[in-house]
């Protein structure tokens, strides 16, 4: 890929994900906290950016400190002339990645301002106004103004799919669950994840940022090493399914319910304070009997890396920091660390 200039025909052919042609314009969302229901209600097709097959991370010649996921998002956005990409302000890397991607005046890009605070009316107001602004952007892309009925229907469908996924999480195979969540973020569908085999492996929690399709093989590697992911709390795991809607409010004021359903249920490391993340983790780590935490992060991700000490102190569990790599699966060095980690927990 280094041989091709970003944006060139060869580059686009190389990076182009293996997807079927879509009837509706694809709107790629770089965060699970940007409501896909809102995009769908506008008649466009939301796609989780992280669900793109062959989304390439880590193959780029990066300058020091650049997050490979953010860089891949930038290059993806520059290459996909037929789609829109919605970045979020959840981290500096993605925020400035948007700056880099939009440097050449691309008008298919949008930066969604996710408030970091969550305990104030001002935070809710920011989220609401950003959603309204996103609506205007979607209309400019050719979307239609959403009717309350349509939005309500989309919320109902996604709410049901999320619930089914969450209900199946504890008993599913870790890879099957990751694939099912990715499917949900790709087209909103629920595909039942296969059940987990009888567990003799060490139960672990996988926590952190984007965990992409090329990384799924890592789950197989972990199982071969004698561990299993009992709680997938990555950005593409159970956390991403936390938005939930108040049916009663949704019936009369679906937009309000959408705002609240997201705003009140964002579970992420970037929030200040990020106590909601810890409150969310506590019962799940206990109920899944996690004996250790694998903290999954991309190079340059300060937000997740800084949590390692706090996770250890809060939950009294060993924490293994594992850096996302370019190759599928764990890779020899990471595999060695993983095996050692699991061995120490047996």
């Amino acid at each position: 890929l280094k041989r091709f200039a970003p944006g060139s025909h060869e580059f686009i052919q190389k990076i182009k994900p293996q997807i079927k042609p879509a009837r509706k314009m694809d709107v790629f969302l770089a965060s699970p906290w940007i409501p896909a229901e809102w995009v769908r209600a506008h008649g466009l097709q939301p796609r989780g950016l992280w669900s793109v097959e062959n989304f390439q991370c880590g193959l780029w010649p990066l300058s020091a400190g650049v997050c490979a996921f953010a860089e891949a998002a930038v290059r993806f956005a520059q290459a996909r002339a037929d789609s829109a990409v919605i970045f979020s302000t959840a981290c500096d890397q993605m925020r400035r990645g948007f700056d880099a991607a939009s440097l050449r005046g691309q008008n298919r890009l949008f930066l969604f301002n996710l408030p970091a605070t969550w305990q104030t009316a001002a935070a809710g107001q920011i989220f609401r106004s950003e959603l309204e602004r996103l609506g205007q952007f979607l209309l400019a892309l050719g979307g239609r103004a959403p009717s309350p009925e349509l939005l309500r229907r989309e919320m109902s469908l996604s709410g049901a799919a999320r619930k089914r996924l969450l209900d199946s999480a504890a008993a599913s195979s870790s890879r099957g669950f990751a694939e099912a969540v990715a499917r949900f973020h790709w087209d909103g569908a629920f595909s039942p994840p296969p059940p987990a085999a009888p567990a003799t492996q060490v139960p672990l929690a996988l926590l952190g940022g984007p965990f992409l399709a090329p990384h799924w093989k890592w789950l197989d590697d972990l199982e071969a090493a004698g561990g299993r992911v009992a709680l997938n709390a990555t950005e593409m795991g159970e956390r991403s399914l936390s938005p939930a809607f108040d049916d009663e409010a949704g019936a009369s004021r679906p937009f309000d319910a959408l705002v609240r359903g997201y705003c009140d249920n964002i579970i992420d490391v970037f929030q200040r304070p990020n106590t909601r993340l810890y409150s969310w983790l506590k019962p799940r780590l206990a109920s899944r009997q996690a004996r250790g935490i694998v903290l999954w992060h991309f190079t340059g991700c300060d937000l997740w890396r800084a949590e390692a000490g706090t996770l250890r102190e809060t939950f009294g569990l060993p924490v293994l920091l594992l850096e996302a790599g370019a190759e599928p699966g764990a890779g020899p060095r990471r595999l060695d660390r993983l095996q050692t980690f699991v061995e120490t927990l047996r």
Partner: protein, 461 residues
């Protein structure tokens, strides 16, 4: 007392100080020879620096290097201490509008490893607290606050969140987990107003949607209430307006200083002193009135030098615009040793140099000022200002100084350099400067020298 402007090392300043004393130098209470900061405070880095030889610069340095003592004295006198983090220039304006409050930036501890040449092991302590060298040197703040060995533990900690650096946000969050409660307030990422949206003019020729400014105003109201509770007195509009006027007195002096120094045919004040002087804008080095006096002295000195055509750095020096503060102060000396001089700067807080509007309700004015923060908005907004100031200062090159581990540095330098090259076609380089840069001096020097030589060679064309 006057002598030709030049830079002195610490040994030379010892002699100079004695001479000034013999000549009747009068100093404020925090005055004294610079050497004592090495002996008493272990500020070993001073031995490697070169300082301007004026009494005004001596006052500036003494003012800077006695800040921790000043804070301890304030605490002993019953003042409440506010640790304000990240916003660089907004919350202190509010805090100093209330009697009995002293605000400072614990972020400033990022210079402690440099000043003490890491002898206090703050960075190593931060690593033991979970923040290794992949984080910005601002991580020194964490052990400094937890141990309480440098500045007093604040009575209230306030930190902006949202469109801020990840590393700083992560460090502050770690601090809170370690038991230091923080009042977080939201600063949204600034965007340009959309068509049909109510727009709001900001300082620095910027604009933002009114809805964003409204959000920040609401957040600052919350901050103001907390400060009022701490002070035992409501922060009303009259007090805040007075605080804004006082902050603007500082900003006006800095504006004059910058214009005088950066537009002069040669440099009447060295780069290092300019960096330190500009830093006074953000929280007045814990004493607003004294900041004004310090800046008055400096301004008088540079105006006098400019009138007499007496300069520290000659007119042949390449005119360099500098972006971002340096983790090692030594780097500013290095630029001049290699034939450069400052003709402009963006030390990450240009919003703290712009006047806060005095013709608006004070909280609205402050919210607009906060929204003009270059780190809060798109990088190309920041680059546009750099381009304007490069043109005004007739810059011949731009140096973007990377802060090791800082999340914003991963990307912004590349964008700024690209825009600078595209808009004004001058060379732009990026260099990374660690807290103590001695080991990197050869490579730093070769990059800076190449920049200076390139800039000079372009003159001949």
């Amino acid at each position: 007392m006057n002598s030709a402007p030049r830079q002195l090392n610490l040994d030379q300043w010892d002699d100079r100080y004695e001479q000034l004393r013999r000549d009747g130098l009068r100093e404020p209470a925090y005055g004294g020879p610079l050497r004592r900061h090495v002996v008493r405070e272990k500020d070993f880095r001073l031995q490697q620096l070169r300082f301007d030889n004026s009494p005004a610069a001596l006052r500036l340095w003494n003012f800077l290097l006695t800040e921790n003592q000043r804070l301890h004295q304030a605490r002993a006198a019953g003042h409440k201490i506010v640790g304000t983090m990240k916003d660089l220039g907004t919350v202190p304006v509010m805090a100093y509008a209330l009697p009995g409050l002293r605000a400072f930036y614990p972020d400033g501890a990022w210079w402690t490893p440099c000043l003490m040449e890491c002898s206090d092991r703050l960075l190593q302590k931060a690593e033991r607290m979970g923040l290794d060298a992949s984080f910005c040197p601002a991580r020194a703040m964490l052990p400094a606050l937890v141990d309480g060995g440098h500045f007093p533990r604040p009575d209230l900690l306030i930190c902006s969140s949202g469109a801020v650096c990840d590393d700083f946000s992560a460090i502050a969050q770690r601090l809170e987990h370690l038991g230091h409660s923080i009042l977080w307030w939201e600063i949204p990422r600034r965007r340009r107003p959309a068509a049909g949206e109510t727009a709001c003019a900001l300082p620095g020729l910027l604009a933002a949607p009114q809805i964003q400014v409204d959000c920040v105003r609401t957040e600052l109201q919350r901050v103001g209430r907390a400060l009022g509770e701490l002070a035992g007195r409501t922060l009303d509009d009259d007090s805040l307006a007075a605080g804004i006027r006082a902050a603007n007195q500082v900003r006006r002096r800095l504006d004059s200083l910058r214009r005088t120094v950066y537009s002069a045919p040669a440099a009447p004040l060295p780069a290092l002193e300019m960096l330190v002087a500009e830093m006074l804008a953000i929280h007045f080095c814990s004493d607003r009135e004294e900041t004004i006096a310090v800046l008055d002295d400096l301004l008088a000195e540079v105006q006098s030098r400019a009138r007499r055509s007496q300069f520290v750095i000659g007119a042949e020096a390449a005119r360099i615009f500098w972006v971002n503060p340096v983790a090692d102060l030594r780097a500013m000396n290095l630029l001049e040793e290699l034939g450069g001089r400052l003709c402009g700067s963006d030390f990450m807080f240009s919003h703290a140099l712009d006047l806060i509007p005095e013709n608006l309700p004070p909280l609205e004015a402050l919210a607009r000022s906060a929204m003009a923060d270059p780190m809060v908005g798109p990088t190309d907004d920041r680059a546009a200002r750099i381009v304007r100031e490069c043109q005004a200062g007739r810059a011949e090159a731009v140096a973007v100084s990377r802060i090791p581990g800082a999340s914003h540095c991963a990307r912004e330098g590349e964008i700024i350099r690209e825009i600078v090259r595209r808009e004004i076609g001058i060379p732009a380089i990026e260099i990374e400067i660690p807290p103590v840069c001695d080991a990197m001096l050869p490579s730093l020097a070769s990059r800076l020298r190449a920049m200076v030589e390139t800039a000079r060679s372009r003159r001949a064309r």
